[in-house]
């Protein structure tokens, strides 16, 4: 039997836990909604403006860098399985070093250009 069958079953059990807990809450918890209770919380005063607003997204550079490095990390895991083989080990080490080296140059470049400053 594949262990992934158990993994799938655990996902189902998790969903059942959520449904059962919400069922228990329906039976036990009171429900008395008022308009004031359902307004958006803004530290006790009436909410100002709408939920759509202009804002400065500061983290998109991090998101780009993350995607680049995360794709890189995906290649590292299969590498772990061939590193010990006699014909691939040393060659794969050099190749990964070149691969990560290029990314590292990119990271240093981003840092020197000041892109890794939050403000």
């Amino acid at each position: 039997m594949s262990p992934y069958v158990v993994v799938a079953a655990v996902v189902v059990v998790g969903l059942l836990l959520f449904v059962a807990a919400m069922g228990a809450r329906l039976l036990l918890a009171p429900s008395a909604p008022t308009r004031a209770k359902l307004t958006t919380y803004e530290s006790g005063v009436d909410p100002v403006g709408q939920d759509w607003a202009q804002t400065q997204i500061r983290y998109f550079v991090y998101a780009f860098l993350y995607v680049i490095f995360a794709v890189d990390a995906v290649y590292l895991f299969p590498w772990a399985l061939v590193l010990r083989s006699a014909d691939l080990g040393a060659a794969s080490l050099v190749e990964i070093a070149v691969f990560i080296g290029v990314l590292l140059v990119g990271l240093v470049h981003a840092a020197r250009r000041g892109l890794l400053r939050w403000l």
Binding site: V10, A24, L28, A29, D51, L107
Partner: protein, 321 residues
Amino acid sequence: MTALEALEVVLRSVAVLAAFLVLPLLVGQTEHKVMAHMQGRLGPMYAGGFHGWAQLVADGVKFVQKEDITPAAADKGVFRFAPAVALIPYLVAMAVIPLSPDVVAADAPASAVLVLAVTAVGILGTLMAGWASANKYSLLGAMRAAAQLLSYELPLVLSVASVCLAAGSLSLSGIAAAWSPWWLLWQLPGAVVFLVAAVAELQRPPFDMPVADSEIVFGAYTEYTGLRFAFFLLSEYAGIVVMSLLFAVLYLGGWQGPFSDQLGWVWTMLKGFVIAVVVIWLRVSWPRLREDQLQRLAWLVLVPLALAQLALTGVWVVASA
């Protein structure tokens, strides 16, 4: 699938559920008491009689009876489902972490990669909560969480990759079996990176800017009440359990120790518990980082350190092969 196999699947998943409902409460109660004593207080003393052992059970009973409010402006479906998305990934992660070669619910061949993948899904719960709340604090909190979890996911993945290289295996059982005490020194930089990144992934102090109470109330969880709020809290403590056990299995040899044939699972639990206490200790000792300091730490310290560890591991494995 025969009936016997089906029964085995049910038993295994129910055992995971039991561990999932008990272990986070143990960590939570430990946090109550350890924090209290570090701060010269007693912590909960009444619920259950003996040193307030039933405090979190009482909290749970209270949470179930609280009114569940969905704000009128919220995106209702997403808002209501977000706690499940935050919680279930840690349940799945717990299923594949081995306590000993025999005590594991699902011994998946690529469990190290699977754990990283499912814990990353949990972040979506926070994002969904923040976006669907239609609340400015929630949105800011979700943005901060997204930026933080992106940045710290990377050192976490890289340090786990280094351990996989060292063991030549992608399975957590294989990694713990390949472990030797020499790893404590050899993989030390990676271990430090993993611990720091894990605390940041869990949004625990000193990395709790996404829920900074003095700035943005409670971040993405501001609009939540009752049981749904409790589910987010539970997922935080389940996260501590998962990360601590993972640290024990990856860096401390899991079940390896005296009498590991019979008591292996006890060793894994003990090592994980020590790490959980360290995570609690960090909360008591360190002030919150600023948002910009946080990003610098991730990209200019942890990522280079994790890459250096990766290079060290790779060169050593090839040189000694």
